[in-house]
Every structure is written in C-alpha cells, then in structure tokens.
C-alpha cells in the first residue's frame, strides 16, 4: 500500500488554508512519556495519512467492541427473565456473581468457559456482583437495573467505570451495602458526589483513584454525607503531604536565596 506523506510546514502550520490540509496540526507531544511502540506509531501517524487513518479505525473498533460487550441482553431477558439475563451479562463480561439464597459463586474459568447452571435460577435475584477488571460501563448497567436486591458490587480496576456510571448507581439506593471502587482510573470527585443516594452503604473502598486529587478531603466530605458508611483505602492526610513538602521546599529555597 502506498504511504502518502503529509507535507510538513513548520512555521505555517496554523495558516494552512489551501495547502495539504493538516489533520493533526494540533499535534504536540503527549504529556506523559509513551512506550516505544506508541512513540513509533505516533511518529508514523504524524507523517503518513494512512497510519493515522488506521489508528483512528482501530480506536473506532475498540469503541465498537465495548459497545457490543455492554449491549442490552434483550433476547435473554425475554426468554429467561431479568435475573438470568443479568447473570448471563456478568458471565459474558468474565465477572462473577452470587444469587440470593445460594452460597456458591458463578464465575467463568481462566479460558472464559462457564457452566450454564445459572439458567435454572430464574426466580433468584442477584445479591453480590464482582466485575473487577472487566469492561463494564455505564450503558451496561441497563442489564442490572432490575436487580433491586444487589448488596455487594465490586468494581476493582475497571477501566471503563467513570463518573456517569457512578451517577447511575442510585438505582441500587435501597439495597447496596458494599461498594469497591479501587483502582478505577476514570473516577473523579464529580462522580463520587453522586454516591450520597446510597443510603444503605456500609463499606466503601476508595483506594488508588488516580484522578481524585485530595482523597483525604473527599473522604471527610463523603463521611459527612454518608454517616453510616465506613470508607477504607484512603487516609485523612492523603493529599495534604504534597502541600507539606511544598512548604518545606519553599522554606528551603527562601533561606537559600535570602542568605
């Protein structure tokens, strides 16, 4: 396949009105250092239209797969009822769950195979769900809307769980008692402030949330709003340490320049 070179105009990039239209004129090097493969792809996409188009197709494909995995399981719901549809959805995501009244968990094995026994439990709502590390997202919650008895939800390390997902959790406000949000890279304060609907919440795990800037303050504010909830994974003085170090370094530098 012929690779078409983009014309690189360094100074006139902004003014390219009639010239080889710059797709990525707004390009600048990304803020965080990338691994070698990404750096190579980035360099190639800056210079060749084909590579850029391939990369945009691959990101479109990734979004399409996500949408497909989180689609609404309407056929299963019609045939077997809400509970089995929710169960099937969780198993397809490679998560685990436990029916209420049962004690064993249903999970797929390492190869992704799971037993189809869950089809027999049409009358049992789901009580505990563990979808850690899966690609569950906000639209996928449509499958779990009917599970009004949900008590435990574990979302450890789910990379697609974001603030919009948390804003939808109010559907479980009467029943949810344990929520584990550790390691979700997309959650920020905007979503955590929507958790005040969950009145029955008793345990909340907020460890390692990279986008929450002052976790200690957020913990205090959440404890104010959810008085019966025990929040783990974050200490009160997290987020304060940086300020203390700044003050120390300021003090050092001022003594340095003053003297």
């Amino acid at each position: 396949m012929a690779l078409y070179r983009t014309v690189q105009l360094s100074g006139c990039a902004r003014m390219c009105v009639s010239v080889a239209r710059p797709y990525s004129t707004v390009a600048r090097s990304p803020s965080t250092p990338l691994p070698l493969r990404s750096k190579l792809l980035f360099f190639l996409s800056q210079h060749f239209y084909d590579v850029e188009q391939l990369l945009s197709w691959s990101s479109w494909l990734r979004n399409w797969t996500l949408r497909r995995k989180n689609t609404f399981y309407s056929y299963t719901q019609e045939q077997y009822g809400n509970n089995v549809a929710a169960a099937f959805y969780i198993l397809s995501l490679k998560g685990g769950f436990r029916f209420s009244g049962q004690s064993e968990w249903f999970r797929p094995n390492e190869k992704g195979k799971f037993s189809w026994d869950f089809v027999n439990f049409q009358e049992h709502p789901i009580e505990e769900v563990d979808v850690s590390g899966t690609v569950i997202n906000c639209t996928g919650l449509d499958n779990l809307v009917s599970q009004k008895n949900l008590r435990t939800l574990s979302l450890r390390g789910c990379r697609e769980v974001d603030d919009w997902f948390l804003s939808r959790l109010h559907i479980f406000q009467e029943s949810l008692e344990e929520l584990n949000l550790s390691g979700c890279p997309r959650i920020s304060v905007g979503g955590l402030c929507a958790l005040h609907h969950l009145r029955k919440l008793r345990k909340l795990d907020l460890s390692s949330l990279p986008r929450v800037q002052n976790p200690g303050l957020v913990r205090i504010l959440l404890e104010e709003v959810l008085p019966h909830c025990h929040i783990t994974g974050v200490e009160y003085d997290e987020g304060l340490q940086a300020f203390q170090e700044e003050k120390d370094s300021e003090a050092l530098s001022s003594t340095g320049t003053g003297a």
Partner: protein
C-alpha cells in the same frame, strides 16, 4: 566573501523550497489571519453553539472536504462570550418536550464525549462533570405545574423524581422546607461542568477535521434580492447572501467571503447580525418588518464562601423565587444568582457587577432557604450575557423565511451551553439533509414568531 556567498546561497535555497507546489508562500505580503476567499458555510460566532454546528457539519459530510466550513469569532480572548461566563449547568427539567429532548441528547453526547471529540494522540477531554442533579422547589402555587412538568419529563425519558417536603428535609437537612409544597430532583444526566473544556474540545476536534477559524468581526453582508408575487399579488422580496464581510481586528481591512450558507450563532449579538442582513427593516406591517427577537441581557453570578455550608451532596438548588445556588469545588465555595425582573434589567453596555443586587435581592431569599448562608461572604462575582429571546425565551433553530440561506441557532436564553451539542446536530441535519432527522424541532423554528404564537417554557431560571 566566500562566507557571504555561502550565506546568500543558503537563503536562496530556503526561498526556493518555500515556493514549491503545496507551499503558501506569496511574493506579496498578505495580512495574517485573513479568512479564505470562499467557503461553503460561514458560521458567525465562535461560541459553543457555533463550534458545535461546525463539528457536526464536518462529521456529517459524506466525502472528505465535502463542506468547507469557516467559523468567524469576534474576540479571540472570549472575554465577553456567554459560553465561558456560563454557570455550566445541564438539566432535563423543562416543561417543553423539545427542550427536554435537546438536553437529554446533549447529555448523551457528553457521556461519550471522548468517542465523539477524541483526537488522536491528544489528551482525553475532561469536562469535570459534577453529577449532583438539580433540585427545583415549588410553593403551593407552582406544585400543580411541577407535577405536570414531571409527567412530561418522565414521558420524554428524563430521570426525575418528585419529593415531598418531609423527604426533602430528610435528604437535605440543611434546607429550610418552609413554604415548600413539592420538589423535583433530577437523578441522572444533570449537574454542572466546565464550559471552557467543552468549547475547547469541540474547537480542537473541528479544527482537526478541517474547519477554518478566523478571528474577525462580521460587518456586513452583500446579498442579492429577488421578488416574487404571492397569491394575492403582494410583492415579497427574498434575499440571498452572497458575501460575508469579515473585518480584521484592530484594522479597517475586511475580506468578503463568498459563501453558500450563513449560520447565525452569534449569541447575544445575533440580533445585530440579523440587522446587518436587513431583517426587520422592511415596510411596516409586513413580514419583512419582523426583527429577530434576540437581545443581550446581563446576568450576575456571585461566588460565595461559606465554611459551614451544605456538603458534597448539594444539588443545583433552584427556589421558586428564582434564586439559584450550586456548590463550586470542595472548599466551601458556592455560586449563586437570580434572574432580575423585567423592570430591573441591568444595562448591557458593559459587564460590570452590581454587588448591591446580591445584598438586596439574592441574599435574603438565599438565607431564608438555606440558613447556613446567613453568614456568607461574597468572594467574587462576574456578569455574562444571556442571548435572551424576548418573544418566548426558547431557542430559534432554523432557516429564516425571507433570507434564503441564513440559518439561526440562537435565542437560547441561558440554555445554550446545555443544548449546544444537540442543537448543533439539528442544525447540521437541516443544512445537509434538508430536514430534522434525529429530533423534530420544527416547533422551534421561525414560524412561531411570524404567526405570533409563543412556545413558552415555564421553568426558566
């Protein structure tokens, strides 16, 4: 001397490279920042609505570079633009179904904003969306209307719930429920976000798709007029805009941009832009004499600091007196405001803030509703313009009947930011597909203005 010869050769080489095909080097200096000489669609106004239209036009074009779009913005610093001075809330609690659908579709867009506006190898868009919901409070008088609105909203798909005063007191103990008969609380897709991030994301993506941006002021249109007789032999004259005169900042130089379609998304100044096209200057008692009823209205926004104020669960509170208040950040800061009555509308010549307005009008009402705000301090304040539709305070989306190629996306009266993605899509569908495809917003066109049938929205803030 040899050194000089070498230097001269090197400079010549640079010139030669610059003059090769594909280069924009010209022997005569041209002013930087001039818009192109012709464009298919010229969008007047570079706010969130203008860039949303530009983005959707590029997204819907069937072939690459099928539509050449130019966005003309008067002020590169956006110092007086309504978008960036907006409080940034989005809600679905309207009484008109079209407004609810516009808002819902925009929330849907914002939810998957990185799919729509993600540019390759750029940082993902971070809107800082706070999902805190809106809480509307109604007195005895307004309870009936609130219940009707609730039914309309649920039917349209908004996730809203009604709360009794006891439930309000239980959920929000810091609220004084005296005089409260009913409250309406949005559970999903409601809250507030950073308008500047949305504007920049739309702009970045649109520019990466090939939209031209020009900083200049539209000072006039060159149009051709043709008349046609009506059934009862009245002569109606129709205009078609041929050139848009874009004047460069701090200069008298202007560039006439030849265009096929003009979109008026100029926000508070849409009325002036429409006047430039001659709308509203016809003989009295004819259609040509009806101006576009959009004018700027100044609104004050105050930032309050109250250390004992409501906590993380503060919704965007809107009282039946019109006072609104929301949390800002985590440090005990709040944003409050009130739309003044018709009689006490402030002067729109500048954006100076009147602090007495807070002391006299807002603070008593706010302190009555939220007792914690009795000891609050005004940390700062700003003012911004609403592109106020004086006719019925709802947006005007559509083609003007008398100017054959001028589309309007204006008159949002304070809801421009929250309705911009869906309104942009609707206008792009009108332009490229000839009619609305996803949302039927024909009730928000110009016909209602000419027939003098206002489509009223009952819950304006």
């Amino acid at each position: 001397v040899r050194f000089d010869d070498n230097r001269v050769e090197v400079t010549k080489e640079i010139h030669a490279v610059r003059a090769m095909p594909g280069s924009d080097w010209q022997p005569l200096e041209i002013t930087p920042g001039l818009p192109p000489e012709r464009a298919d669609v010229v969008i007047v106004g570079g706010g969130v609505v203008g860039w949303s239209v530009a983005y959707w036009l590029k997204r819907k074009e069937r072939i690459r570079d099928g539509v050449r779009v130019l966005v003309v913005e008067k002020d590169p610093t956006y110092s007086q633009a309504s978008t960036v001075l907006s409080v940034g809330g989005i809600r679905q609690q309207f009484s008109l179904p079209e407004n609810i659908h516009l808002s819902l579709a925009s929330a849907e867009f914002l939810r998957s904003i990185n799919e729509h506006l993600g540019v390759l190898n750029e940082d993902p868009v971070d809107l800082q969306f706070n999902h805190s919901g809106y809480l509307f409070i109604a007195s005895e008088k307004g309870a009936g209307i609130m219940e009707e609105n609730y039914r309309t909203q649920r039917y349209a798909g908004a996730k809203v719930t009604l709360l009794s005063p006891a439930q309000v007191k239980e959920k929000f103990p810091w609220l004084n429920t005296e005089g409260v008969a009913l409250a309406s609380y949005g559970l999903e897709n409601e809250g507030w976000f950073d308008p500047w991030s949305l504007l920049n994301a739309l702009r970045r993506k649109a520019i990466s798709m090939g939209v031209y941006q020009c900083f200049g002021e539209v000072t006039g249109f060159r149009y051709s007029t043709h008349s046609m007789p009506t059934d009862d032999s009245h002569q109606m004259s129709f205009k078609r805009i041929r050139y848009v005169n874009v004047r460069m900042p701090n200069s008298l130089e202007y560039q006439p941009v030849e265009c096929a379609i003009v979109v008026n998304a100029a926000g508070a100044h849409s009325g002036k832009v429409a006047d430039l096209a001659g709308i509203g200057s016809g003989p009295k008692d004819t259609l040509a004499a009806v101006p576009v009823p959009v004018e700027p209205r100044k609104r004050y926004v105050y930032v309050l600091h109250c250390p004992d104020g409501p906590g993380l669960d503060t919704p965007f509170l809107i009282d039946y007196s019109g006072v609104y208040c929301r949390r800002e950040g985590l440090g005990g800061n709040y944003i409050a405001g009130l739309s003044p009555e018709e009689e006490e509308e402030p002067d729109t010549r500048d954006l100076e803030v009147d602090y007495n307005f807070f002391q006299d009008r807002i603070w008593p009402l706010l302190a009555h509703r939220v007792p914690a705000f009795e000891c609050t301090k005004v940390a700062s304040a700003w003012a911004g313009y609403y592109d106020y539709n004086t006719f019925d305070q709802n947006c005007i989306l559509g083609l003007h009947p008398l100017v054959n190629n001028m589309y309007f996306a204006t008159g949002f009266s304070g809801h421009g930011l929250q309705q911009s993605p869906a309104a942009g899509r609707a206008l792009a569908e009108l332009i490229l597909d000839g009619g609305f495809r996803t949302l039927d917003l024909s009730a928000l066109g110009f016909e209602r203005i000419f027939h003098q049938e206002p489509v009223l929205e009952r819950s304006i803030v």
